[in-house]
Assembly symmetry: D2
Homo-oligomer: 366 residues x 4
């Protein structure tokens, strides 16, 4: 119950700390008969790696995944899939100072308050490294979604003040530039902005956008487990997310009904279309068959060199400079994490759709 | 599993449609020994009622709650509490036309896609009337929170382009004006704006803000059931919500780390303070003991008189005008619904906090 | 979380006390499109009624069920189904004495210990009357099972020392005699035995047997939610059950492997058969397509006229005679309760079977 | 959802197959602040090992446990605990024949039916080796129980026709003889009986008994998650269990109320006692503070040398002799598994007891 299990049908249980022996995940509820090998998972983990970017930590994270159970002769068996990634590059000695104080913007203080003490090495369980396990599980979820015709496209929408120009949208760019932006010009400008932030020993926030296509209508479980509610939970569970919106999002609050309502039309082929997609593909908490659109606002990396005020455990007011080199922006590496959480949620609720109707159950069981 | 159960410890199971016999909720997990009577619940239900406002539907909803079980000699018994509100004012005859077409911005199409057919009377289960049961359960949650020293203040932050002026914040105004705004001037301007929207047969969106005080540090269950994740799910489960944010929210995406980080300081009394509260009272998914701050963006009421394009079930493109008189803005009546969902979430995770630490468990069981 | 929610997919939430205003259940997870009316449920509730039997309490329980939500135009809508049964015949005045002492064999003492106080009227929530809600929900489950070709036969196997003779098994007898025995002779002998018990102001236990046919192979979720584990939980949740067994049951403990193993054979038509069914239709926690066989041992009714020793809340040792007229044996009325719990469990895990295999999911969603 | 997660508060997620790389468990919900090291777990795993007994498989299972996460500086951190046991002695070559046929009494046929195919090496996930993970998690649960004053004593009650003599009960014997019998004479007789079974290439069943002391009154969550229901589920989830009973158990079905009711008395010190314990320490599904007593009937080991009839996947009737050397009785090694499942259930519901009463919650959170 302590919060590290996610999902109802396709359930994952993650574990591991930044500087422990390993991180991993157990998937309970993956159906039998899906082709799965380590490379299927590794390619998503590689997207999460710091890589050679000037905007990511130089900590070398090799992050090789190993499948320990649940796959036999290349196929899932229907029994739990255990995935493990060993930690190979932790340097605990860096973190002794941190154990005695509370870094602003980090979870140091709240973990101490909650658990009475904390594994302070690299943030322990509150480290972004925890998302390794999410990405590993998400890769399995994406495998299933692709068999069901569902695709997810995720990218950086903005970094600080620099937003992409949607008229220049080029999906191929996403994993070509260091910033996962589908617009080479914006990526260039954002890079320049980040260099300035680094020089002033500071960091930046940004926004990730995600578009899902191919999801059939009818996914989502009102009234509490609406599709947007469950996606909202999934995205807010990622560290550093401060806001989530769907379709017209916050803008809807200053729109009138006649602007925001999406009008239906049958097109010339007789297929249902919508003239707009302000709903972001969800109405009444249920997918409507049009693209799901969501955005997540990330706060700036809290670890900065700039001098900050804080307190220590001895009850003193102190000034600190956070040591080590950290990503000046979290957003580019968070793109695959957002995608993974969306995939995990969609698989779960797409499966549950079967139970909405007796005719679907009969079809499956006949 | 079809989505109408909410919570893990304090679990509620809601039921009922707009034009059915009744609506209600069963609470499983309310501890024994809490004083509870119908009036405790009725006063929150009354806040949800259309009332005499020119900006709410003239449908008369009497909404008297009845406690059917779980309370004995004025106290909760620890067994399930069943609450019921009978529907007394439904007029099904209005809705025959709606059964054959899909209203823009409503869940008509998605319910048909999901379930194969739908109870079209007044939106059936997808009606805002469903929130009656949430408010009833939320009142019980608030009773518990108040015993534990937690308070929730919820209000309208903006309607369309009209936002409150925080320097004029006056909590007493909230339930004095029809729009639940804690600023009489803004309420006046918003009322004028809404009259214009009504005249042009249109509607408006708005934003609700919620501030929680008295919640201790240590509430929230990382990594998936972080406090912001669970509150996010709770708020997104309310119909018409298109965006949710905490603390600095979407603004954080264009801030630098040194601006967004909240610096800690011990004040002159030696108590821990933060110089800002951009985190909205949550770090690493755990409450930090400072106020929780969240905002929810509501889309404009989809039911408008203005002519709209849509399709019917026979496959035709048609134009419609939605009949009946509807609220030109949903926000003022949604305030108590947001508050209820926040209360339900907080009770659940405040209870779960006990399990974080062996010393707390021992204290309880000794 | 307080234990009144049952099931994972087909989830029921029951509520109500013996002498409260009503009892009921909310079903969350019933698929859309199933024909359902009150009479479908009423006929099972009638089997639970005391009736005119000399062996059941003369309390008149009319127990008319009302469907409050989730059914529209004669079909389930896929949204929560709320069922209510009003209490019409409670006489609370009988129970004041009981509030001050602990009846042997009842839950008086444990409810006080757990909740700090209790609704002592008729046992409150611990009363057998609570099973009314189970039977109502079970009737819906049985409706679904019958659409899927699954049948359940449940009956009294023994009362005290009197066991049925299986060579005389006659299913038609089950609801013809007062004791639900499929053997008229045994029913006669058991009736005589019970008359003697009544004369000596005492009561009797007995055994219920249940046989499920038509359940396909592949139902059950190892390793913890094996079909026998979930049925075991379901049956042990019925008050007064002290033992549960499947197939050869306790006898298996003194058998050798060569006796207990069921040998497979293809019969002359090429269909798979088993030469015996000691497994009771379950191997490795999964149904094997052969009949599920289970037995539940019920303790004797604890309410007896005979003088008993006990204590009161003032700390005194006292002697009591339990007033009122009670069933001298609980078994005949428990038959439908066992059947209901089996049905609820089977629907839940039969539905879950879809998730075992990707091919079944694809078939349902295609 | 596929059944390998157990518990609600103290949740475990197990994984691994007989001949996979490793087996393990993730514990989510272990409170922070409990001393834990590998040796705490190892000592229970050692009880499960085949050892040098002539009545257990000669497969050498070293079974060294490793803690991968959730423990820091010797104490649990409140975050997930991942435990792993590497498989070191698997010989997959033995099992090719098995892949083509269905062994009587095993789950070969049902796994194929459920999942479409199976990992046939050593039974895959359906192997008793899966219980390694349960015992590892159970050791952590027992650590917590011991801090809360709860003890569990588990032993072999009978093997085939040989039952212990309770007048000779000697707890020290339990892990001294190969058969875990608390009666040296019975152990000797049972050993002789088993030698005969081995000679005739057959096997035997038996009964395990478990007695819990120190559990406070008030544990268990009626009406569906009664303590006996949850223990019943836990025990029936162990492979080979065909029956479970509490207190007077099946015998209660032929007792009268005056015999079976436990009479309360205050003893000379003014403490509450019961003159008997036919209830097995549970009334109305809630512990009464007296010892919990349960028994589990195990079927004989299905793997026997004796020739058996069965079928193969090609649709032929065949005769087989199961190769390899197997335990002639499963009971002695199952004793620690029963104890582990009882411990896991008790921790979970003992924790939940806190939520029954507002005064306990306030005490914990104050």
């Amino acid at each position: 119950m302590s919060g590290s299990i996610f999902g109802k049908v396709f359930q994952i249980s993650t574990w591991g700390e930044s500087h422990g022996k390993a991180l991993g995940v157990v998937i309970d509820g993956c159906p039998a008969g899906i082709s799965l090998c380590e490379e299927d998972i590794q390619k998503d983990l590689d997207k999460r790696k710091p890589g050679n970017s000037p905007f990511s930590t130089p900590r070398k994270e090799d992050d090789r995944v190993e499948i320990l159970s649940g796959v036999f002769e290349g196929k899932t068996t229907g029994t739990p899939i255990s995935l493990i990634v060993h930690n190979t590059n932790q340097r605990s000695s860096d973190y002794t100072e941190i154990s005695r104080l509370y870094r602003p913007g980090h979870a140091d203080y709240t973990y101490d308050q909650k658990y009475g003490f904390r594994d302070y090495r690299g943030g322990g369980r509150s480290s972004g490294r925890e998302t390794t396990a999410r990405v590993a599980a998400g890769a399995v979820a994406k495998k299933i979604l692709s068999e069901l015709g569902v695709s997810i496209l995720t990218y950086t929408l903005s970094i600080g003040p620099v937003q992409i120009d949607k008229t220049k949208f080029d999906a191929d760019q996403i994993y070509k530039n260091f910033l996962a932006m589908p617009d080479a010009d914006a990526a260039q400008k954002a890079a320049e902005f980040l260099m300035k932030q680094k020089e002033s020993e500071d960091s930046s926030g940004g926004i990730v956008e995600c578009v899902v296509t191919g999801l059939p209508a009818g996914v989502g479980e009102p009234v509490f487990e609406k599709l947007d509610a469950m996606l909202g939970k999934a995205i807010f569970s990622i560290g550093a997310v401060k806001g989530v919106e769907f379709g017209s999002g916050f803008k809807a609050s200053s729109m009138s009904g006649s602007e925001n309502n999406d009008f239906y039309r049958f097109d010339e082929k007789g297929e249902l279309t919508k003239l707009t997609n302000n709903s972001g593909g969800i109405l009444g908490g249920i997918s409507d068959g049009f693209p799901i659109i969501l955005r997540a606002a990330f706060k700036p990396t809290p670890s900065i060199h700039k001098t900050q005020k804080t307190v220590n455990k001895q009850g003193e007011n102190i000034d600190i400079q956070v040591e080590g080199r950290h990503d000046p922006v979290i957003v580019p590496r968070a793109v695959i994490v957002v995608e993974s959480m969306v995939a995990l949620t969609l698989v779960d609720y797409l499966f549950q759709r079967v139970f909405s109707r007796m005719d679907l159950i009969k079809k499956a069981l006949s």
